[in-house]
Amino acid sequence: MNRKIIKSKSYLYDEKIESIAEVPEKELESLPLNKDLKFIGKAIPRVDGEEKVSGTAVFTFDKTFTNIAHAKTLRSPYPFAKIMSIDISKAKKVNGVLKIITNENSPEIEWYGDYSKLFDQTVRYEGDEVAFIVAETEDIAEKALSLIEVNYKELDFVTNTLESIKDSSPKIYNKSNIPDPGGHANYSRGNYEEGIKYSDVVIEREYSTQVAIHNPLEPHCTITKWEDDELIIWDSTQAVFSVRDAIASRLKIPASKVRVIKEYMGGGFGAKLEAGKYSVMAALAAREIKRPVKVVLDRREMNLAVGNRPDSQQKITAGAKKDGTLMALGLTSHGGMGAYPAGTYVHWPLRSLYKCDNIESNEYRTFINAGRARPFRAPGHVQGTFALESILDDLAEKIEMDPLEFRKKNFTSIDQDSKLPYTSKKLMEAYDAGAKAINWNNRKPAGTIEGVIKRGLGLASQIWWGGGSPPAYATVKMNRDGSVQVLCGSQDLGTGTYTIIAQVTAEVLEIPIESINVLIGDTQATPYAPSSGGSTTAPSITPAVYDGSLQIKKKLIAGASAIMELPTDELSYSQGKISEKKNKDNFLTNSQIIRKIRERVLVATGARNQNTDKYAINTFGVQFADVEVNTLTGKVTVNKIVAAHDIGRTLNRQTLENQFHGGVMMGLGYALMEERIIDEYTGKVLTTNIHDYKMATMKDTPDIDVIIVSETDPLVSAVGVKGIGEPAMIPTPGAIANAIYNAIGVRINSLPITPDKIITALNNRG
């Protein structure tokens, strides 16, 4: 096991992420192409599929103990208020109430940097935490909640992003709602003014995107249990190690005394990347009442308090030459963070997706009295791509160029910031494959379709990172019977992490999937692996699993060599057996080798390789939408989405398609129906359930055609896989919006494109 310590670099947005990591000293030999493999790339059913469909899989939501206590959170009913007093005397008397925590009896724990506390005396959005009640049952906790008397002093509030930046608007922190520093980001390249000047056509458009809520099926939930001074937390999380470290530091106990476990999870989409206040509150309460405490957020809390994709109010100016050369792109954008700091910027696709020498972008993020944003499946990119791809279509129309040709004309083979080539960019192949599958040649000019129901085609491209990085480790253990356990500090969001780990191990060791047991999502049992966000899980951990499995194989061969007294190059490994190359009958099984070398368990820990610094690592793709619009009723039907992407190697065709289907449906919901709506007069959210907050249903599901144009990306890792969770969603809304425009010839510049907007736009046109 030869290792070296390196400084690992990877990129996410403007951030150059550097971490010191231990990586394999030598580059590993790349896996052959999928056609020569037995497990990888195949549509292997999920290893946990049976448990899930039979209902025996225990999600955090399902976890319980006989002496468990249940907690509920009292949240502010006002968007902005000062808590003058809290009277818990009536609530305390309710039979079965075990503990009530408020700002009066809680340790002071900072939250959202130093912007707030675990229990703050000022509440800054409807849903901000006020008190925490632990009781024998959830019903008792809820009843007691209603008996807490809080005296609030209501303050003037602002919930609208563009209102919040006006001088006259209420200030959430007694100074400008755009924090300074930190509230403004500028990016420029080339000479934007010149680019505009030398353009033949210049257009300017405004776009507005809504606030969207993650709403995973499994709500945020946690169980905390103390065993002496050790705290065990079962958390529905995308990041067991982040949650562990955050909670340990907040409770001022060693990280080694906190164990975070997450076995199965019903989705996170970015909302579960951080430790929740509820976990810390539950831990505090559990320590006092000496019983495990469970807290499960309800759907209302999910829609108020655990994150969202922030809105964006974008103004874009774009200039091009008549020959289709993109000359300049300018962006001014505002986004509402919510009441506490969060990212809202959307300029990245505009800056990186197409070749454009002259760029000027100014973005502002502002505090509003509403739930705080969190990362949400390709933060910024979904909003930015919708606006960019909309204006590019308008520009293409102005210069009378086919939208697809226009994009091909402005293809870039290098990353325009670093000037590095990409490890792989098969976007041209994706354009051709996708255009063929959607019959792009049948596309008619916008607004020329006759009849009440008009059909249109549209496209949007995608760029994302998704290359993964070290540090990420996986420990592979082979038992005497030849069965294998893989331990990795990653977690399965429902995307199939268990399955792909087993596949990689099975491939290297040539053993049945059934003989492999994967343990992930447990900080105490596994080596470190990163949070599952940014589409980095598969590209970060599978090379470590590959490395660990290869090391086991090497150990077995070395063992066999000693036992058989033959040099290793005269031995070959096949299907769990090592035989003499010249005499196949002279062989030892893995099991025999382990017995003879008198070990009970062979152990090796694999590590993710260092990232290349000679190339930029990104994923690319294009999606084409085929839609029908009923011009009488504004109803949009998405007939088909073709998703053609370069995502490196496909590990599992079934889980890959699952992720694409999920991403496309989430994109479709965002394009056509999802929206958090706030009553501007009271500052209260109206869409606090999943009937009023409309997500797409089975009946909205189009045909989804997934085309993967890449075989592998060996410059990323020996496994050659890149992430797909976010790429799958990024282009969907832009493609649908462009298809709607193509159908009806009227542009809807604000999402979601609901029937009322279509009817109004058609009506205004006359």
């Binding site: 009440v452 129906m673 209260k684 009946k699 029937p755 009817i759």
Partner: protein, 321 residues
Amino acid sequence: MRNFKYLQPENLKESVGALSEKSIPYSGGTDILGLLKNNIISPTELVNLKNIDDLDKIEQISNGIKIGALTKLADIAENDLVRNKFTALAQAAEQVGTPQLRNVGTLGGNIAQRPRCWYYRGDFDCLKKGGDICYAEIGQNKYHAIIGGGPCHIVHPSDTAVALLALNAKLTTLSPKGEKKIPLKDFFILPEIDQTVENILSPDEIITHIEIPFPSSNSKSGYIKSMERGAWDFAVASVAAVIDHNNGKINSGKITFGGVAPIPWHEEELDNSLKGVSLSSESLIQLSKYALKKADPLEHNEYKINLTRGLLVELLSNLVG
């Protein structure tokens, strides 16, 4: 949610006897459970109607059809007689909610369900709940009434009631005072009469049957609904129609609207203008302009006028095409 007593009467008479000001009847429960859990209503007694025999039948009677109020929406949507002769009702029933909701939700409950206004359902002390203001009047009123509203601006959420109104249905109700027959058109009440309720049922009264007369033999009926997604959405607007036509012209008909007013909406003038209308799309579009002429939309819902007229054109085209 406040605790309540769960009463399980064995028959119709006992059920009606158990009902009072402080109780609420419960059958499919798809609406009641939400109302209870969100603390919109807090009855002290829940009266289970599911033990009542024979209220879940669909039977043909001499001049039409008689449907028990406890009949599941799914059974109505699948019933051959309903599909053939009362198509609008079958189409309305099959567009309610989701299969899960239709499998438990009943016709009586669908007619008597409470509105979906997000202020009424949310954490707002609104007019309908005894408060002082209708938040929707100046607030987020995209889904609210464009006609018949004020001082409360809800829309009636039922799909089936819109179809039943077009089909001239009559309700049978029972209370300790006895049985009543109420034409559906007299069942719903506007907020200007009483904004706290949507119909004339008294607290101790339940719907037992719905009777619909056969439409004339050469007529056709249908129901069309606008939703913002493919399923599990209440009507943004909807239209039911019963149309009698021959030789390319409409003889007579009845048109009703949902999602636009606090009650299922009917405009007699519109029905009167149906006679003689030719079935070309131009004349149907012309006809649709007579619908909702007195609409008085709020800030965010003017689109509903065109939407509803568009639905009307589409429905009539489907029916006569």
